[in-house]
Subunit: 157 residues, 2 copies
DNA sequence: GCAGATTATATAAGCAGCTTAAATTTGTAG
DNA sequence: CTACAAATTTAAGCTGCTTATATAATCTGC
């Protein structure tokens, strides 16, 4: 099979896809507005990642940075904005007071779930046109790519 | 199958992958340096996209913008930088002098091919661990996503 | 053929999201 | 208790995009 062509097509598609993904869609703002959160909230992919990560329990800023593959200051920034809009809360880890634990504000877990759901609607739609095998292969591909690019970029320490 | 989980995983993976892809790898700079082009060139995914698009023939700035899914000023900027480093050239379309046609500088076609090849090495590596079916499903998935997000974001005209 | 609208590109200004470097606070080990 | 290490934040800066505006070339209707 012509792998070259597939690689080239991916190289063309990936950045374009990313620009689309990063473009803030107004969808979830309506959702937020209905709950009394500011209407002009711009939920970026990074924020969505934080909301998803927190669904599995509280996280320290450092853990978030690592899970998202960003620097600690970037994680601080993401948490700042979510906290500003009353979505998440910081509190000190009693075991180690250097650590800042991030968690949903009480009652915001459900709101977060809805925001994430809205955000992933196009993704969900796209995936509903794949067979199970294709969907699995797609995610496997993403994992492989992240791993491969990670090895190329990150591991020069 | 648990599509929800796959969607969530994709939502976590995509932005992380993008940050990795966008991180400029020094690989291709060495390649450029050997050809007498400035060493501090930073080849971004957008520039790679332009180089790939030009492999199929000269393009106007507007066509590039459309192919990449960016605004015309963004395309102008990408071309600016590539031209600055002697990779591409502008010349007027004799048929319509408003149009600026972009093409490789003579002899740079081959250099571009090598730059693109270096840039896609991690991608190539990742794809070599997929079966043919998986690779096809992966690219199909990317296409579906781009289409789906495009419909969600772009078609509000 | 020419005034006015349209199209293609470029310039200008500004913003979001990341980075590295330095500062602050807390923990740990000799 | 001193000195170093670790977690987070603050500060400064860069890149890649955006929209709004400017400029130049083309098309249209009279």
């Amino acid at each position: 099979m012509d792998r070259e062509r597939l690689v080239d097509e991916t190289l063309m598609l990936l950045p374009t896809l990313m620009r689309l993904v990063e473009r803030p869609s107004p969808v979830e703002m309506g959702e937020i507005a209905r709950r009394g959160v500011a209407t002009d909230v711009q939920v970026s992919p990074g924020h969505i990642q934080v909301l998803i990560a927190l669904a599995r329990g509280p996280r320290s800023v450092g853990q978030l940075a690592e899970e998202l593959g960003v620097s600690p200051p970037a994680a601080t920034q993401l948490v700042d904005k979510l906290a500003e809009h009353g979505m998440v809360d910081r509190h000190n880890d009693p075991a180690d007071r250097r650590v800042v634990l991030v968690d949903y504000v009480a009652g915001m877990r459900e709101v977060a779930r809805r925001i994430v759901r809205d955000r992933r609607r196009p993704l969900h739609d796209a995936m509903s046109e794949m067979t199970d095998g294709e969907a699995l292969a797609f995610v496997k591909g993403l994992r492989l790519l992240a791993q491969s690019f990670g090895a190329a970029a990150g591991e020069e320490i």
